[in-house]
């Protein structure tokens, strides 16, 4: 622990034996001069130098003893010099000396108390596992804790005096000017930094900066407390990776469930293309070719070909295994893109569809395919949940709207069904992995949907519908809510 005191208090270990010797010699010299010279002055006042010297190496009790000794020597000299001859000025000189020694001792004791509390604080900084360092306004390291030595590998004497950012090759999450701006404005900053250790390895830290100001309020130094979150970051990344893979697997599984519907969705326009082609040939092959009918057939062929390729493009996007993106997404478009995929499923289950897209919805930030997956899952669940309900009362309602105040509230997607609903006991378990109310359900759909929505900073909830059935609500954060005026989400539209 000495080392930390070196930096803060500049107290060199060699003083520990040199100082007492000097102090003792000095005291002896003063005593001899005071006792045996006939100088008419308060030589004993010089004992304060002995007290001052001793304050550097003595504890409280030692200092009191030394001070007492000095007072004793003063009195002894007085008694030897003035045995029986107490003239007033000599007594006054003696008293002044004793007062000086006493006052100096008291001041030293007070100073020692303050120093000890400083030392205690510095030792405490070294106790924490966090790396702590203090740097001045020019970024030069002034103090470097034991934790900083351990985390970064640079010993204190190598780190102190060097610019922190270049020593640690700091990678900042935002422009440094912005970070410093916040530090100077609010007195603190917090964020994730990537540092490079002495051995060249990288470390991700959660960094907290506090600004110290002088009495005039001018920035003086910043204390930086860094805790190593490299492992946590790695675990987080691995978790995100796994989540994305699982989302992909579940998506492909859902698509497997929809194979018949999807095949139909592609086959239907292809059938129309072929039949239109046959018809076209026959219109042209007539004794009097009917160009008008032939043209209409070809136009329908083109339209149907496009329809088939649109379906395939959507399927390819859903089946692709990409890293989740953060891009502006219009939730109404997401719903439009998903509905054709469940169209056949919906039609064969005799489910009426009611879509109420909200107007002037802000775009949300997220991964389009993953959001499609959530809507697909909720809509498909709703359709399948209504299988047991009598014909004519199966209704799937999908609505989007802004929750509360425009431009501020969340973007809501509501999926309602008129199925038998879920009993109160099962409701809290709905989003658990491997929990399914379906006979052959895998129980992954809602669990994955929840993790997707939560990764988007939103939430998903299930509740009994007002008229029976279930209501699933997805709430996605509105990026316009916190954005400043120059980055309204609408402007990011392509």
């Amino acid at each position: 622990m000495y080392a930390s005191r070196d930096v803060i208090l500049n107290d060199k270990p060699t003083n520990r034996w040199l100082m007492p010797v000097i102090a003792a010699l000095l005291a002896a010299a003063i005593f001899i001069i005071d006792t045996f010279s006939s100088l008419d002055m308060a030589i004993a006042v010089l004992y304060v130098v002995v007290v001052l010297l001793s304050a550097n190496y003595s504890d409280r009790r030692g200092l009191l003893a030394i001070a007492g000794l000095c007072v004793g020597l003063t009195i002894l000299s007085f008694l030897v010099m003035h045995a029986g001859n107490y003239d007033l000025s000599a007594v006054m000189r003696g008293l002044v000396s004793i007062a000086a020694i006493t006052v100096t001792t008291l001041l030293c004791l007070e100073n020692q108390t303050a120093t000890q509390s400083l030392r205690g604080q510095a030792d405490l900084l070294d106790l924490t596992h966090d790396a702590i360092f203090v740097r001045d306004i020019a970024d030069t390291v002034l103090y470097w804790s034991d934790g900083a030595e351990r985390l970064y590998g640079w010993p204190r004497e190598e780190a102190v005096g060097r610019p922190a950012a270049s020593l640690l090759k700091t990678v900042f999450p935002a422009p440094l000017a912005d970070i410093r701006g916040e530090l100077f404005r609010t007195g603190r900053w917090e964020g994730e930094l990537v540092h490079t250790r002495k051995d060249g390895s990288k470390v991700t830290v959660m960094s907290r900066w506090s600004l110290q100001r002088d009495e005039k309020g001018r920035p003086l130094a910043a204390m930086e407390t860094n805790s190593d979150i490299t492992e946590r970051k790695q675990a987080e990344n691995a978790l995100n990776q796994t989540r994305a893979e699982l989302a992909h697997v579940t998506r492909v599984t859902t698509m497997g469930e929809l194979t018949a519907s999807i095949a139909h969705e592609v086959n239907q326009p292809l059938a129309a293309v072929v039949t239109n082609g046959e018809a076209c040939l026959r219109w042209l092959g007539r004794a009097e070719p009917d160009i008008g009918e032939a043209r209409a057939s070809v136009e329908r062929m083109i339209a149907n070909g496009r329809r088939a390729s649109d379906v395939i493009a959507r399927l390819r996007a859903l089946a692709r295994r990409d890293e989740p993106l953060q891009a502006p997404v219009d939730v109404n478009e997401v719903i439009d893109e998903v509905l054709p995929l469940i169209e056949r499923e919906r039609a064969t289950h005799g489910v009426a569809l009611d879509v109420a897209p909200g107007e002037r919805l802000p775009v949300v930030l997220g991964d389009r395919v993953q959001l499609q997956q959530v809507v697909l899952n909720l809509a498909l669940n709703a359709v399948q949940a209504m299988a047991a309900v009598p014909d004519g009362s199966r209704r799937l309602q999908i609505a989007t709207r802004i929750d509360g105040q425009e431009d501020r509230g969340c973007v809501l997607i509501e999926v309602r069904d008129t199925g038998p609903g879920v009993d109160a006991e099962s409701l809290p378990k709905l989003f658990n992995a491997f929990y399914s109310t379906k006979k052959d359900g895998m129980g992954m759909g809602l669990s994955i949907s929840r993790s997707i929505i939560e990764a988007h900073g939103g939430r998903i909830a299930a509740a009994p519908g007002e008229d029976g059935g279930m209501l699933f609500t997805v709430a996605l954060p509105n990026p316009g809510k916190d954005a400043s005026g120059d980055s309204l989400p609408e402007e990011r539209r392509p």
Partner: protein, 130 residues
């Protein structure tokens, strides 16, 4: 019987419905279309059709159910089935009930013409053109 036989097309998918109608008309028949079997059964022209081309899987009444409804009423109108999901079980079932054809989508134009031919032949109606 009208001089140009009337052929009824029932399919819930509009694009297939319209394309089939065009093909049938290009063969010289008159055609009319319905989006569901129920619509057809409720139509006042029910008895005037020479042949019905119907999808198998539709929301509401399926093509198979339509067939049994017609037969139960004693209506012997020939039926041609078209389907995106050709299942052997259904093919056997509709043939047993007297279906003229069971075609997988996308169907071959010639196969359709043959079926229509057979259907009208059963009813003693000559092909009006091809």
């Amino acid at each position: 019987m009208s001089p140009t036989p009337m052929i009824t097309i029932i399919d819930d998918d509009e694009s297939v419905r319209v394309a089939t109608e065009s093909l049938v008309r290009s063969l010289g028949f008159s055609a009319r279309t319905f989006a569901s079997a129920e619509d057809f059964l409720n139509s006042p022209l029910l008895g005037e059709t020479a042949c019905v081309i119907t999808d198998v899987q539709m929301p509401g009444m399926s093509g198979v159910e339509l067939q049994s409804q017609l037969r139960a009423r004693g209506d012997e109108t020939p039926l041609i089935f078209i389907t995106a999901f050709p299942e052997e079980r259904i093919r056997r079932q509709v043939h047993a009930a007297g279906a003229v054809g069971f075609l997988a989508k996308p169907f071959d134009g010639h196969a359709m013409i043959e079926c229509i031919d057979r259907a009208l032949g059963e009813r003693g109606v000559a092909m009006a053109g091809a």
